[in-house]
Amino acid sequence: MAADFFLLRWKSEGLRCPDHEIKLLESGDNPRGVTLIQMPNGTGKTTTLSLLRATLSGDAVEWTNTHLQSFRKRQSSATSGRFLVEGVFDGKRLTIILELDFEEGKASYSTTVGSGKKTGFLPPRGLHRFLNRDFVRLFVFDGEEAARLLDHKYTNAHDAIDNLFQLKFFDGIEQHIRDYWAEQTSQATALAGKGLTQRRNRVDQLQLQLKTCEAAYALAQAERDRAQDQLNKKTRKFDQQLKKRRNYHEALQLAETALADAKTVVQQQAQKLLTRIRDPFALSAKTAADLLALRANLDRVKLPESTSREFFDELAGEEECVCGRPLTQECKTHILSHASRYLGTEDVVFLNTMKSDIATMMGTDPAAHANELQGATRQLLEHMRDEDLAWTNRDSVRSKAVDDDPALKKIVAEIAELQASADKSAAEVEKYENTDESEENICGIAVLKKRLSEAERKVAEITHTLDLKEKRDVLVAIVQAAQKAARTAISEQTVNEANERIQTLMPMNRVRISAINKCLVLEDQEGGSMGETLSVAYAFLATFFNSADNRFPFVVDSPAGAIDLEIRARIAELVPRLTSQFIAFTISSERQGFCDHFLAKRSGTQYFTLFRKGDTTLERKARATKGSAETEDGLLVPGAKFFREFQLESE
């Protein structure tokens, strides 16, 4: 069943952005096709976008207290904030309210569908599968985060495809098949008695354990990636701050160059040593001596022989011997029985080549190669010591800078905290990747799957449903293959159509999507420029939202961002066509090329300008504009004229 969803309005109160209400209606319950909301930097664009995402995805209940407090209005005594989103889904009004309690540090939701208000995040059936964090991120989109579509840590395009094209239906079929087998085995209880109960309990327990561990594994992976990402950001911030301290900058640069050089030398020497280690005779003088002795002794006992087994086999087939005497049957049998004492031609060739290898690769001194390897090992140790020294030197420059600067000290403490958190979450992930098969391992996903399969086999055995289990396994494999094939076909089609759009957007550019592999993968490159990435993102989303019979709003922050003027106009053409409702948060610098396009061409576009109070001239001008709305900390002004003329010096 297709989903038809659009937004009517949102309202923010007591939160970090100015209190405001944006109405998106044209007339009756029809939404405006395009709404441009101009918000200068510092007005809370990112906050509003985050709140929209949180209200539509229900994920604020998972926020940490620190994150939640970051939405509190500055210099305000308000103990709570509220963000309301109203929309229409399949002809019915839907209101979701997100309440943030800053005293308790808790987020809560209420949902109204039609006239019934309920506590909790309870979107109607049919919309529920779309209102999750990953999917909402696609239709409430931050242009500055376009690169995340190319990063598997932030994007799960497979999941989005499953939701949009209802491929989760296959999961339902699979569950049905599994339930049927469970039901069949449960009917055999009376016959099999206690043994069956025990075996079935084992299956139930393993299924539960596996499900719990898989969910915990996904969370642990996300947490690890998040922690690592934060750590990387903080480390970059530290490096940037440190570079601003001129007195340390030069010393630090020298120390870092020396460290990078030392690391390279260690890696090169390690590769040299590894190459040496690949010679078994270099690993020990004794091994080398044993090989030389083997060769010498084989020579001594004349192995391989100069005559091969085939010679005697052929001789036994002749009527007379090479010496001219006739060969009787008795002679032939004797020759054949003794032929097996000789090696075959190819054995002879192999042994001769092996002996030749020993001679040519090793030479005559058994200790020579081992000595070389020991030399390479000593050299590597020396280079590793040099690297340690380079680390110490670099750390010492950093420490001195940190000791002299409390701000840097604070960042270092935060980095240490984040490092501990990253280590902890990495250890958590490893727990679920443990393949140790001992009974103590109760979290390893692969091991649990294996145990579950074995436990199911035992249940099937006792209930005489082995045949049925095999059929179940075949059916499940077919369903899984069908889901995979459908996903692959949809992904390929999306890639092809998106590439056609990219060609239209950037005819002179060769950047193309090569695959959807959880995230978008670009051809022959890991990432593009900001403009390329954004164009790729829009081309993908345009294709994505147009390929299924669904309708969603498309809300974008910084739609034109860092795109060249020439491409901006094409983007302005394309983006509103992604969906029937396009809402963009812009800043005045995006007017050129992007907003101008709408101001000049598009009728029916709705304009708002939202800014914080503070500039009295601007406030006067806003109040004089018809339809403007004033709240405690902000002014919202409708209309193209104010939108066009609005310019803050801060931008």
């Binding site: 010679d279 003088a285 192995l303 092996m354 443990n434």
Partner: protein
């Protein structure tokens, strides 16, 4: 028949996956184990279900060393079986059971079983001698060569 590596050995070396640049990482780890097994004479029989099949031939980096590895095993087997190299017929028989010149590995099925046995036994020696699973290649190589030097000293 394939070279087979113990699953726990494959997991133990996981930390080196991103730094070993060769295409056949599994065989690289197999080789580390094999040399430790041959040097210590430690041979273990491990169930097929506990092992991962690798390849049936020597990867590029080891192609030229294949016959030398077979020679190392022949030498170790003769030593273990107490066969004097002067005993021509027994030497001959041992070589015939271990070698198959038609196989890409130059090993008969029996020979491959023995080779895999040394690799399995070698992992015991490695994991006991190097307490932590390796994460950094240079550190591992140093520890590995030191461990082999100790094994050599014990063998002499």
């Amino acid at each position: 028949m394939d070279f087979r590596i113990r699953k726990d050995a494959r997991a133990w070396f996981k930390g080196l996956d991103s730094v070993i640049g060769t295409s056949a990482k599994g065989f690289e780890y197999y080789y580390f184990c094999l040399c430790a097994g041959l040097m210590s004479g430690n041979k273990l029989s491990v169930a097929a279900s506990e092992c991962d099949a690798l390849i049936d031939h020597y990867p590029t980096e080891y192609k030229a060393k294949g016959r030398i590895l077979v020679a190392c095993m022949i030498s170790k087997e003769l030593e273990t079986l107490g066969i004097d190299v002067a005993e021509r017929s027994r030497v001959h028989e041992t070589i015939r059971t271990l070698v198959d010149p038609h196989a890409l590995s130059n090993l008969s099925d029996y020979g491959m079983e023995q080779m895999n046995g040394y690799a399995a036994g070698g992992f015991e020696v490695l994991s006991e001698g190097i307490s932590e699973p390796p994460r950094v290649l240079p550190t591992f190589l140093i520890e590995y060569t030191q461990l082999l030097a100790e094994l050599e000293a014990e063998a002499i």
